[in-house]
């Protein structure tokens, strides 16, 4: 039945019925003249009543057939537009109306798809921006110099921790939105900004301009300030202020100047006396003996004074030496980096380099130059050894003030000291400008020595350097954690789980020694990366580590029914299909069992924030505390803090670096086993580095925010 035909029929009926009835009434009266006027009236009334009844019936029918479906359409439409985009219209029985409803549904579908696409793109774009912002903040954060970005009105838009350290005053911490003049004296800063503006006006807009100045900050720091303007368009133009702390350099320069001046002045007196006495003795051979003795006495006394001055000057110069201003460099780190750098070369020669290890000890100076030296020492030792032989590198503190790093080869011809005079490979400095640096020259710049030690084991190349105090515990920087958390929040889909929950839950366990604790190393496989987007756990694997050993027979494994389809992209990673999880217990049933397995042990995971964001909210929903009461060790963060130079901390790379074989990658139990073996290695390293308690380990893994963030970003990219 079409809509049109229904209406037509209704109109025809509505029109025809009264006409037919009136006609019928007329005929009736005509055929029966005996009918009185009263009867005629009754007939007419009956006809009228009949007509009224018919019309009402008709109206009701029309309302059923037309108005109600239309009303339903209208309401459905307003639902789609107003509240529920996913709502679809029920199809009325009338074909016209049904087509209309279907058309509206189609339009809604299309609108839905477009807006869905938009959502996806918007999410992607937001994520991209968040990642970029995170990266930018990490970069800013890692810069030693203070960086402040201001808008055209010189209000602070962005600053890094170094800038905040330099510019914040107790009464006025550096805050965005404030004018930069609140922190830097206008009379010093204004001229630089104005000069910059003048130079920009007078030249093409593409030219880069920079103004520099040196100023003393309110906190006493002496800083080199560089200002530049970035952004071409007027409204997006920003001033970037870069502050370099030169306090130490200026202090050193000043004391060096003063030292030189004083040293020369100090020597002038005695040298003048010696010179004149010597000349007199030389020129006048007729001196009476008492005068001769007097001049000889002068010679003797002033030569003594010069010798004493020299000793004093040497002692004073020690404090002015440039290498004393360098950073403490971990010798272990040098050794490990050199080994990693040369791994493939050694492999080509069929050689191995074993690290003999030793307690942590620090040298002071130029890390890169020292690394070149250690690399070159390994290369020299390798050239000396035959194929298939194992070199050993060890280090230790000797004598109290000196450290020694040795690279030993099992045999070889006697080595001459001259091998240390070859120019350093990879020395970036141009030959024309500088003498080529050699192992010896770099080592001497660092107040050290190199030599060859021959004994019945073979030859060892020995590098000896003065011991530096280890890097002092960095001053607490409240910003660091805040920025760290912020970026973590930006990075995660809906935010990674906060990796630094309160630590005051288990004081006894926190102070227990790491070697005495029991650990549960666990790993999850999931349907995807975002629990916030409905992703779910599909399997949990865990294994225990106790007494510093992996206990492979003490494990936990369960598949979990995610109660949702597993996308093919996830199945490709872990191989778990919908069929495999059908009939498996849901997470709510598995979690309590897993909780029991963990109980009494410290939970450990690789990139634990990922796993915890799946588990902890579910635990909370079950009325349980977060895993490990919030004290969870993270092998990624720990490796990152322990081996900052390694650069990549995904499971494979780490296992390879630690000489572990990887089995069953991307099964939760396989990954848990690999992670557990990594943990066992890390526990040894932690012990050596003097990290003894759980609390210290947790502190260490939260410590280096920058590298942690960079690694989180990186790990996220290579996750899977």
């Amino acid at each position: 039945v079409t809509f049109q035909r229904t209406i037509l029929l209704a109109l025809v009926v509505a029109g025809a019925v009264p006409v037919a009835l009136v006609t019928a009434a007329g005929l009736l009266v005509e055929r029966h003249p005996e009918l009185s006027a009263r009867d005629a009236t009754a007939v007419t009334l009956a006809i009228a009543a009949f007509s009224l009844g018919a019309t009402i019936l008709l109206a009701v029918g029309a309302s059923r057939a037309v108005t109600e479906p239309l009303q339903a359409l209208r309401e459905g439409l307003s639902t789609i537009v107003g509240s529920n985009r996913c709502h679809r219209l029920p199809l009325p029985t009338e074909r016209d109306l049904a087509e209309m409803a279907a058309g509206i549904n189609l339009l809604a579908d299309q609108a839905d798809q477009v807006s869905g696409d938009l959502d996806v793109r918007l999410t992607a774009a937001t994520r991209e921006i968040a990642l970029e912002k995170g990266t930018l903040e990490s970069v800013l954060f890692a810069i030693v110099d203070g960086v402040v970005v201001c808008n055209e009105d010189l209000q602070i838009v962005l600053s890094n921790a170094a800038a905040r350290r330099m510019l914040s005053q107790p009464s006025r911490p550096l805050r965005r939105g404030e004018s930069v003049f609140a922190y830097l004296r206008a009379d010093l800063l204004r001229p630089l900004v104005d000069a910059l503006a003048v130079r920009r006006n007078g030249s093409p807009s593409t030219a880069q301009h920079l103004e520099r100045g040196t100023l003393t900050l309110p906190n006493g720091t002496v800083a080199d300030l560089s200002i530049l303007v970035v952004g071409e368009e007027e409204e997006r133009r920003h001033h970037v202020l870069v502050l370099r702390d030169v306090t130490e350099r200026v202090r050193l320069d000043r004391s060096r100047d003063r030292f030189l001046l004083e040293a020369v002045q100090q020597l002038r007196g005695p040298v003048a006396a010696v010179l004149s006495a010597a000349e007199i003795l030389h020129a006048y051979d007729d001196l009476p003996s008492d005068q001769r003795d007097a001049f000889l006495e002068v010679l003797h006394q002033d030569a003594e004074r010069i010798a004493e001055d020299l000793d004093a000057m040497q002692a004073a110069a020690g404090g002015l030496s440039a290498s004393h201003a360098g950073e403490p460099v971990s010798v272990r780190d040098l050794a490990e980096s050199a080994r990693a750098d040369l791994a493939s070369e050694l492999e080509e020669r069929g050689q191995r380099l074993a690290l003999g290890g030793g307690a942590e000890v620090f040298a002071r100076g130029d890390r890169l130059a020292l690394l070149q030296v250690v690399r070159q020492l390994v290369a020299l030792a390798s050239a000396q050894a035959a194929s298939g032989q194992t070199l050993t590198m060890g280090w230790c503190q000797v004598d109290g003030d000196l450290l020694e790093l040795t690279v030993a080869t099992p045999e070889g011809r006697p080595l001459d000291d001259a091998i240390f005079d070859g120019s350093l490979a990879g020395d970036g400095r141009s030959r024309e400008e500088h003498e080529p640096r050699t192992i010896r020259s770099v080592v001497r710049e660092h107040h050290g020595e190199v030599w060859v030690r021959h004994d019945h084991h073979g030859a060892a190349l020995v590098l000896s350097l003065p011991v530096a105090e280890p890097r002092p515990e960095p001053a607490p920087r409240p910003d660091e954690d805040a920025v760290g958390r912020q970026i973590l929040a930006l990075v995660g889909e809906g935010g990674f789980y906060d990796p630094s929950p309160p630590l005051d839950r288990h004081p006894s366990e926190l102070h227990a020694r790491l070697v005495d604790l029991s650990y549960v190393v666990f790993d999850l496989e999931t349907t995807g990366l975002g629990p916030g987007r409905g992703d779910e756990v599909v399997s949990i694997g865990a294994v225990r580590v106790r007494g510093g050993r992996l206990i492979p027979e003490d494990y936990f494994f369960s598949l979990v029914d995610p109660k949702r389809p597993i996308p093919p992209s996830a199945t490709r990673i872990h191989g778990i299909t919908d069929e495999m999880v059908t009939g498996q217990p849901p997470l709510a049933d598995v979690l309590p069992r897993f909780g029991e397995f963990v109980d009494g042990s410290v939970p450990v995971a690789h990139l634990s924030s990922f796993d915890l964001q799946f588990l902890n909210p579910r635990l909370a929903a079950l009325g349980r505390p977060p895993l490990g009461d919030g004290a969870v060790l993270d092998t990624l963060l720990l490796s990152c803090s322990l081996f900052p130079s390694w650069g990549n901390y995904n499971l494979e790379q780490l296992a390879e670096r630690l000489d572990l074989t990887v089995v069953g990658r991307h099964t939760s139990l396989g990954d848990a086993l690999t992670t557990a073996e990594i943990l066992v290695r890390l526990l040894g390293v932690l012990e050596q580095r003097g990290v003894r308690t759980l609390e210290e380990a947790l502190k260490l893994q939260r410590g280096d925010a920058v590298s942690r963030l960079v690694e989180t970003l990186r790990a996220k990219q290579s996750w899977g």
Partner: protein, 144 residues
Amino acid sequence: VEKRVLVVEDEANILLSLRFILERQGYQVRSAMTGREGLEQMQREPPDLVILDLMLPDVSGYTVCQQARRDPRLARTPILVLTARAQDAERRKGLELGATDYVTKPFRVAELLTRVAGLLGSRESRVTGHESGTSDPRPSPRDP
């Protein structure tokens, strides 16, 4: 019997003084002004003591030390090193490569003579560094 002292020193003025004070002390003094010449001399006629400057024009004093120690006849000859540099690491290296004792320039005559007498008196046992107090001049780092 007069003790024979070989002085290897490239600065003529210092050599002059050293020769003078040592001879006045009753030692028989020979001298060399380069590392190679010094090595040749000590190998030709092993002295009772060598006074060796580290900064020589041809080969370094360390090399002289090392090569001297490879000659069985010189293996136990005391070597007193004179140096203008006074880093701890340098001292350690010298002692390990065969130096018996160290004197930093400038030195006092009396001090030098005391050291020389000490070294010649205890010829049979290698004397170690006087200041560093090292008991064993070559403790090897942790044997891997």
